[in-house]
Symmetry: C2
Subunit: 336 residues, 2 copies
């Protein structure tokens, strides 16, 4: 085989999925390895443990609204929270390029500590590797987290049922637009800021009120809302129908996406989540979300259907509808 | 501060320790974060969980005796085993350079699977990131593992007591010499091979026989036997005295070290461990070790003393003795 890894394989979209399905899952062949979930769940003695890993290679490492340090903590905290588990402990492993300023490292470390404190997770182990200049780019950070599932929630990307309302907890594409505009060095008017945030507290609040009515929780990071919804549609073998004019998005972010030629539905979010919930409680869920600053722009954006299993459709305000596929082509490298 | 990260900061030696002590520990300020241990121990409900992370950046990625894949599994398995815990689950996060051949990725993945099977750990979650060509070197792999401590062993780098025999489970420097000779492109006579191996089964066997007499277990990876013994001496506030002529080393490895101008006491091992044990059972421990191919060259190499707390001394066959410090200066980059 002469094939080579392309940026597309790391996009979180279709090529990533194919690589995972055709190579990793074939070889690893594990019952527990659930590629469409944000974290794995295992039983250890009496405890149900959630376990999740993510490497962060974002470029630039400092950006409006955060840096690679808080992104790395929040990303893993959120992946654990999306199974209904409470994140408890986290590891931080850094690969640093020779010549990286220690003052920058200090800023990143401070940010890691601050975001871990906000999320109430404890950093209990770590690793530091240094590679020669030119063999890595500034700093890459892996975080791996352990959480505990204290109640028997059954929350999974495979659990969407027909009729479920699909809620998005806030505006789309804030992180993606912030990073891309910095990467491109564009001076676009707008006050973009990454939405990087820990979602575990708001999710625990939500589960406290509506736990048995919530079927799916997912944070739409790499690949954006469209890719994440496709994963849920595939895992649940259901269709999803979105209303385009209900999608929350800031005006300046929408404008920047038009300028950049990017669809905000495919741009990364780092402090938002999707909730699939029984329609009888969706208004109550929205109300709980809106009480928290992390959920103040939450909206019902669509519904689960029996028709078109595995597919996501979007209805425009003009009455037309189109298929919304996973991200493929034009990958955005190093968005997280 | 205009200081920059140097290769020395990633050597596992003195500069790494200073960075960890002066920056990471100051900021993270966690009671559980134990920098001198191979893995952290936390209580979750009824279970005592060991948790360890490591990133692997070895260059070359394929070498005699293994590749970056098995190294990544064995490294984390061993770090968990060194607390007396049984490794159960592992995550695999890869950062891949654009253009990396998929056939090479397949070899690495196969090796990850095979070594996980041998160690009897299950790969349950993962992550794949791709960075543009030139922004990383081929592939970096982070593994993070969870283990369970089923009995109340109290094994720690801080537990050495005067009189303890220090046992090394086999020959020194095999991994380090293999990698360095490949990096340098040297044609040195000798049949070098990395000792990369999972040590959890041999350690469980040992603990089954002598559990309450074993005080310290550590695998001397980055920085080698000398650096690891210094860490133990510091943590335990004890002295350690080695007998130079008792150190197990292959003749060809010793010869290569002389040619390369490297001290084998500072070269990495990836399938060896140090055991600090009550002298009354050290012969029994050696016997158990020698029954296993991973322990066939085990030797008593020294003893713990009350004198010279925090220091490691080595006695030459000529009757002189010298101080053996942690690795500092001349770092060997990308040894693991």
């Amino acid at each position: 085989m002469n094939e080579k890894i392309t940026l597309d394989h790391g996009s979180g979209g279709r090529a990533s999925h194919d690589l995972i399905k055709n190579l990793l899952l074939q070889v690893f062949n594990s019952k527990t390895l659930a590629p469409m979930e944000d974290s794995a769940l295992v039983q250890i003695g009496q405890e149900k443990i959630a376990f999740s890993t993510d490497s962060f290679v974002v470029d630039p490492i400092f950006f409006p609204g955060g840096n690679i340090g808080d992104l790395a903590i929040n990303g893993t905290v959120n992946d654990i929270a999306m199974r209904g588990a409470q994140p408890l402990y986290i590891s931080v492993a850094m690969i640093i390029e020779e010549g990286f300023p220690i003052s920058d490292l200090e800023k990143v470390i401070q940010s890691i500590k601050k975001s871990a404190d906000i999320a109430e997770v404890e950093i209990i182990t770590g690793d530091t590797k240094v590679v020669p200049k030119g063999k890595a780019d500034k700093i890459f950070i892996n975080t791996t987290g352990i959480g505990v599932l204290r109640q028997n929630f059954d929350i999974s990307a495979a659990n969407a049922v027909p009729g479920d309302h699909v809620i998005l907890s806030g505006t789309m594409a804030d992180h993606g637009v912030t990073i891309v505009s910095k990467q491109e060095g564009l001076q676009i008017s707008g006050n973009f800021q990454s939405d990087s945030a820990a979602l575990n507290h708001i999710i625990q609040k939500l589960l406290g009120h509506a736990q048995h009515h919530i079927h799916v929780l997912r944070d739409p990071t790499r690949g954006g809302v469209a890719t994440t919804l496709n994963e849920i549609a595939e895992s649940s073998k259901m269709g999803i129908r979105l209303k385009e004019d209900s999608l929350p998005i800031r005006n300046d972010v929408r404008g920047a996406c038009e300028l950049l030629g990017l669809d905000p539905l495919y741009l990364a979010n780092e402090g938002k989540f999707l909730i699939f919930v029984e329609p009888s409680v969706s208004e109550q869920v929205i109300q709980i979300l809106k009480e928290d600053k992390l959920g103040k722009d939450s909206q019902i954006i669509g519904q689960v259907t029996e028709e078109n299993p595995g597919k996501v459709l979007i209805d425009s305000p003009l009455g037309t509808s189109r298929l919304l596929d996973m991200l493929h082509g034009t990958p955005l490298p190093r968005i997280c």
